[in-house]
């Protein structure tokens, strides 16, 4: 199939490669041409604009960071909207606000273009291993048409509901995940303060009811003090803006997510935005007067 791909970062690059490897023709475009080069070497066609990608593709994937990036790529001059034709499909796999997704989907629908929001969980490793969890919002029939494509990228593909529902699920994913990271950081920080080896504590917890994937992976990073990303904390920080805005919009209290946001704010303030989110441990150490 003729596919387009925009957003060739740490997540997008391996995802695009899987599509190429599955035998699809791939058109790419990036704001900085250098970003496209590795994919070009793998056989992708580099286009001059997002509109050109849209013109040459039946299905276009985007994996971008911020709401404003996605809005630009779709709506700006020479953006996807200009190149799409009736029947085209846009699959946005980045994490953006449900509100933006709903706005874009209805704008695209006016031109007969279908959109799915399909954010993922599983990190860079999940993207490389093609084991991502994919949370899909939009028309179920559209999903069935593109399911074989998504199956190249992930293992768990769940249709959550209408437009924006995938993004809501992703926001929930981030709330649960980062709260767990914070809880584990607190537990390991407390162990050490109590003179107990955090490594042993983590090991013990892994066998019991507190076992979790976050404890396995980010907990290990914390005891190894291996704070190189991984998942850059600035991305989680960005996601919590979405979460708090939704809580405000819906009038829903988030008594745990709110202080987690504050810890992430403190992490960013200390210049650790590009470190792994396990760096939340270091924020606790700062409050304890360490590491200054």
């Amino acid at each position: 199939m003729d596919l387009g791909f925009i957003g060739l970062g740490a997540m997008g690059r391996p995802m695009a490669r899987h599509l190429l490897r599955a035998g699809h023709r791939l058109c790419v475009w990036a704001r900085r041409p250098a970003t496209s080069e590795p994919l070009h070497a793998d056989g992708a066609t580099v286009c001059a604009s997002a509109a050109e990608v849209a013109r040459r593709s039946a299905v276009v994937f985007t994996v971008l960071t911020a709401d404003s990036d996605v809005e630009q790529v779709v709506l700006a001059p020479a953006g996807l909207l200009e190149g799409f034709s009736s029947g085209s499909v846009l699959i946005d796999m980045g994490t953006v606000s449900p509100g933006l997704t709903r706005r874009l989907a209805s704008r695209l629908a006016q031109n007969g273009v279908a959109m799915l929001d399909a954010p993922v969980s599983g990190g860079e490793q999940g993207a490389i291993d093609a084991t991502l969890a994919i949370m899909v919002g939009g028309d179920a029939q559209v999903l069935e048409r593109v399911r074989p494509l998504l199956a190249c990228l992930g293992k768990t593909i769940v249709h959550i509901g209408d437009h924006g529902a995938g993004q809501v699920a992703k926001a929930c994913n981030q709330m649960v995940m980062v709260a767990a990271i914070q809880a584990i950081a607190e537990a390991l920080h407390l162990s050490r303060a109590a003179g107990v080896d955090p490594r042993r504590v983590r090991q013990a917890l892994s066998g019991g009811s507190a076992a979790s994937r976050v404890l396995d992976t980010l907990g290990l990073r914390m005891v190894d003090r291996h704070f190189t990303a991984g998942i850059e904390a600035r991305l989680h920080h960005k996601d919590f803006r979405i979460i708090n805005d939704e809580a405000h919009r819906l009038g829903v209290p988030l008594p745990v997510s709110a202080p987690v946001t504050q810890q992430l704010n403190a992490l960013i303030a200390n210049g650790w935005g590009q470190c792994d989110t396990s760096t939340l441990l270091r924020v606790l150490e700062l409050s304890a007067g360490e590491g200054q």
Binding site: A247, L250, P253, T261, Q262
Partner: protein, 293 residues
């Protein structure tokens, strides 16, 4: 002075009336025509829209709900800026994000309007009495021009700093008042559920280091269970969201404000949005054991 006034809600109406009382010539506009009537009865002129408000004015004031409304009134087609009155002093007294205020000031400057952000504290009571606290951000010349108008509406008028500084002060004010209302409600709820008369507890606290205007005023209304606004909790929720967004932009850790925000979210989500912010007491009661009373 010739003053244009846009936005005649709970706060805007008495503020505009006080400008009239102060001897200024005032022309008004509001989205809903019926909210203009009390001002017209008091001698104000009627304008047909924001641009029209600006035509004969030396000074234009807006008092609306949120940043998109402020943008609409000042910068949209038919907005104040479109009147092309170079040298006009503009004042927005709504509570909006500091970053939004700075952005609007910058864009208005390009249109020749000298813009002040001047949010207020003191509620409807302060607006009627002309005793508002006014926190001003922007240039000194514009502040000097606006001073006589401010004097009709408020008592404690502070030029806090450059553009946006007034909104920063207001956000800080909302942190203190939001957390203040919540802690007073917690303390009185704690006393009541412990089987102790909360009125006596309030009275005792008023004499010590826990004294605050909120304990005095809001605390009293909590005891009376008078939840009529005042200051609607959905507005405080909006203001707390401004605080949270600013903290996110700046990388600030605000643990108390964050927790307080969640309680306001819960109030709005559970139908208490139109009640005064002291209805936070009802939320605490809902989350507490029914024992004692």
């Amino acid at each position: 002075m010739n003053i244009g006034f846009i936005g005649l809600g709970i706060m805007g109406r008495p503020m505009a009336l006080n400008l009239l009382k102060g001897g200024h010539r005032v022309r008004v506009w509001a989205r809903r025509p019926e909210s203009m009537q009390p001002l017209l009865d008091a001698g104000a002129g009627a304008a047909s829209g924001p641009a029209d408000v600006a035509l004969a004015a030396d000074l234009v004031i807006s008092m609306v709900a949120d940043a998109p409304d402020v943008e609409q009134v000042w910068l949209a087609a038919g907005g104040v800026a479109s009147a092309g009155k170079t040298g006009l002093v503009g004042i927005d007294m709504s509570t909006i994000r500091p970053a939004a205020a700075r952005d609007i000031a910058r864009r208005l400057q390009a249109a020749g309007v000298d813009f002040l952000d001047a949010p207020v504290s003191g509620g409807e009571v302060g607006a009627i009495a002309g005793t508002l606290s006014i926190m001003v951000g922007g240039g000194s010349d514009a502040f000097a021009t606006a001073a006589p108008a401010f004097a009709c509406m408020g008592k404690n008028i502070v030029h806090v700093g450059d553009s946006g500084a007034g909104q920063v002060a207001k956000a800080a004010n909302q942190i203190v008042t939001g957390a203040g209302v919540l802690t007073v409600a917690e303390a009185l709820n704690f006393a009541a559920k412990s089987g102790v008369d909360p009125a006596k507890v309030r009275e005792a606290l008023l004499g010590g280091f826990a004294y605050s205007k909120i304990l005095e005023n809001h605390g009293q209304r909590m005891l009376e269970r008078n939840f009529k606004p005042g200051f609607k909790s959905w507005m405080h929720q909006k203001d707390m969201n401004i605080v949270m967004q600013s903290a996110h932009e700046l990388g600030l850790c605000l643990p108390v404000a964050a927790a307080t925000t969640q309680m306001f979210n819960a109030m709005v989500g559970s139908g208490l949005g139109e009640e005064d912010s002291i209805a936070i007491l009802k939320l605490l009661e809902r989350l507490s054991s029914a024992a004692s009373e």
